[in-house]
């Protein structure tokens, strides 16, 4: 029987970066397999149920025309040998062989612990948007949106449009830095127009800069958020608190492969190659930069993975978006006060219920695992790892397979 899952170029992740990589690689003449865990393409930013957003449609169509083979509902769980991935698909373990790999696994939200953050009703900011797109209704619900980054406005606008009562928005970055960021937007007209759109839909909703959540109070679920700007405190009543502190790239697969990191992103060369031969990366793994950077880096990586030389225009587009990502990172840098919100009783590892106080004597994430089980639960430190990285400066512990909780039957029955 033929091995239908093998390809010259395998792309992991079908968000903007993966879609662009798959299209460019297939258009460059390579056989391409595009994998994603989700049931349909788009990643988190273009997540949809029935109809993809317009920007996504163009890329989904282009991938279809390119001849790349999509495979959805496919989760990478291990790297059993060089040039080979173990993928769970429809309850079976499938080996997928590749000559070149493009990793476009995107990002997740950074959550920081504060008293009450484990209460039901406290969700992420992207999480609130994901819920909305999964069909959750927000009409009439009181929502506070907090944390950092332009996503706060995007999500607040989407929630308001769907009937939520957005009580207020708290952005931790100070006003001065936001004004500077606003000026860089004038060089990116599309982003500035987006901003104006949110502005009109958010009229009348309090937007507090230099402000952050102190705690989420309530019994059996959040009832109010307590906020501060460092000088005074106030409360906003809500049944949903959407709070997240930016994004962190999903580095589990590249780290399992042995790819070198550079800070919170991957170390990548001029054409998106990682330190591991034949392995490219794109999108948020390049550094958090949004959909435009994802499309640009995906294009470069896909072209390179097909063995083609990358056109200068593609590289220039990528570098322009990288400059924007640098401005973004500077603007939304996290303030020091956020390191001191959690008390000794505040749970930090939500899977194993380990409070911050128990980590007092630990000096690394490895030690925390061994002594307290922090980071050893179902999420494998995907939530507490980045939090402790910020709170304590701890580097992430080594990644182990399986990358996702996997039924034993999948590991035993590989084809």
């Amino acid at each position: 029987m033929a091995e239908p899952f093998d390809a010259a170029v395998v792309v992991v992740g079908a968000g903007p970066a993966g879609l662009a990589a798959a299209a460019h690689a297939a258009e460059g003449g390579a056989s391409v397999l595009l994998l994603d865990r989700a049931p349909r393409p788009g990643g988190q930013i273009w997540r949809h149920r029935a109809t993809p957003p317009r920007a996504a449609r163009a890329w989904i169509d282009r991938v279809e025309r390119s001849g790349a083979t999509p495979l959805f509902g496919a989760t990478v769980i291990d790297v059993p040998a060089p040039g080979c991935l173990l993928v769970e698909h429809e309850g079976l373990g499938r080996r997928v062989r590749y000559e070149r790999l493009v990793i476009a696994t995107g990002a997740r939200e950074r959550f920081l612990p504060f008293p009450g953050w484990t209460q039901p009703g406290v969700v992420g900011v992207g999480a609130a948007q994901a819920l909305l797109r999964q069909g959750a209704r927000f009409a009439g619900r009181r929502v506070v949106v907090a944390g950092t980054g332009p996503l706060l406005l995007t999500v607040a606008a989407a929630l308001a449009e769907n009937g939520a009562r957005v009580v207020g928005i708290a952005e931790q970055a100070p006003l001065g830095r936001l004004v500077g960021f606003g000026r860089t937007l004038t060089r990116h007209p599309r982003k500035a127009a987006q901003g104006l759109g949110y502005g009109t839909r958010l009229l009348g909703i309090p937007y507090r800069t230099g402000s952050w959540i102190r705690s989420a109070d309530g019994r059996g679920g959040v009832e109010r958020a307590r906020l501060t700007n460092g000088r005074r405190e106030w409360t906003w009543d809500c049944e949903i608190l959407a709070c997240a502190y930016g994004l962190v790239p999903n580095l589990e697969l590249p780290r399992l492969l042995g790819c070198e990191t550079a800070g919170e992103a991957l170390a990548l060369d001029e054409v998106q190659r990682t330190s591991v031969p034949g392995v490219f990366a794109a999108g948020e793994l390049d550094g958090i930069g949004g959909d435009a950077l994802a499309l640009a880096t995906g294009g470069v990586a896909g072209t390179g993975a097909a063995g083609r030389s990358v056109p200068a225009a593609l590289l220039q587009a990528r570098d322009r978006e990288r400059a924007f990502a640098v401005a973004y990172k500077r603007t939304f840098a996290l303030r020091d006060e956020l390191r001191h919100l959690a008390g000794p009783e505040t749970v930090v590892c939500r899977c194993e219920d380990v409070p911050l106080g128990r980590l007092e004597s630990c000096r690394s994430s490895r030690e925390a695992k061994l002594l307290t089980r922090a980071g050893m639960g179902a999420c494998q430190a995907r939530v507490c790892g980045p939090a402790l990285g910020f709170l304590r400066g701890w580097a992430a512990d080594s990644v182990r397979s399986p990358l996702e909780p996997t039924p034993l039957s999948v590991l035993e029955d590989q084809r």
């Binding site: 484990t118 039901p120 992207g126 994901a130 819920l131 999964q134 069909g135 209704r137 179902a378």
Partner: protein, 82 residues
């Protein structure tokens, strides 16, 4: 979308639009608390995208399913009580 999917949540019949996630169906049924943590704290969804595992439920007898990654199906049986 006239067609509705009917599923059971903890023995109760709940209707949902096709394509809705199980998490969204729980949310729309007014259920913020979804699981009990290892020390017995009530927890609800946090990340909404399959990372945090806080929204785990039992689906048709299979434990530890992330409700944010499951799509509702006619006749599906969801349990949040273990």
């Amino acid at each position: 979308m006239a067609e509705r999917v009917r599923l059971m949540i903890d023995g109760r019949v709940v209707e949902a639009e096709p394509g809705t996630s199980v998490l969204a169906a729980l949310w729309n049924a007014g259920q913020r608390t979804i699981r009990s943590s290892v020390t017995g704290e009530g927890r609800g969804a946090m990340c909404g995208m399959g990372t945090c595992h806080e929204c785990q439920v039992r689906v048709d007898g299979v434990p530890h399913r992330r409700s944010c990654l499951e799509t509702v199906r006619e006749g599906m049986e969801v349990r949040t009580d273990g």
